[in-house]
Amino acid sequence: MAFREKIAWLTLGTMLVAYGVYFGVVGPSVDFGARRMLDIVWTFGLVATAHAVAMIVGSIVIAVMATKEASARADERDRAITRRGATVGYYVLILGMILVGVVMPFTEPAWKIVNTALLAIVIAEAVCQIVVLLSYRRGWHG
């Protein structure tokens, strides 16, 4: 498995766990900031920090195991696959931002808008990583 494919698996896995915990456990425990908006900052901040730490540690472990490959620059296939993932993720993010920036302000309270925006970012990044992984697995002609 390519070094960058392993990193994509790590990114997707840690994201799903971290933000699954936020949207499934930690967020509901503080009503997603419905009573106090600042609750969103410390709960999501905590989860995002844990995610960042897991990514750093995981990346170091993968890089140490890959040694030579980890120091190599992304080649043309890696770049083509990354572009494809980013393009698809971008459209998902745009849809999410239209929802939270254009539609929701007319009907929803601030805490819902903030959480939906965070969810849109997480979904867009997850879609990006899934497209990257599918491209590595099934092939992508750039």
Binding site: M1, A2, F3, E5, E69, A72, D75, E76, R77, D78, A80, R138, G139, W140, H141, G142
Partner: protein, 72 residues
């Protein structure tokens, strides 16, 4: 009508080049071993520049490495 696709003879060319490894070929053309494997399996179509580099490594013409033919 069968779909036409890009096929290649890289595996055969590597064999005739003293069983050159995918890693060695990748190193000489500036891509990873996994990318060489993907090209061989038809999972990735290389850029024109990389295609010429592959032909150059084996000392053959481009159309001896890549063919536009019937898919499997």
């Amino acid at each position: 009508m069968a779909e036409r696709r890009l096929t290649n003879t890289i595996r055969t060319l590597r064999f005739h080049a003293g069983e050159m490894t995918q890693a060695e070929l990748g190193e000489r053309i500036g891509v990873t071993r996994q990318t060489v494997a993907a090209i061989e399996q038809g999972k990735y179509s290389p850029t024109l520049e990389t295609a010429f580099k592959i032909a150059d490594v084996f000392g053959v013409r481009l159309d001896e490495v890549f063919q536009w033919g019937e898919g499997v």
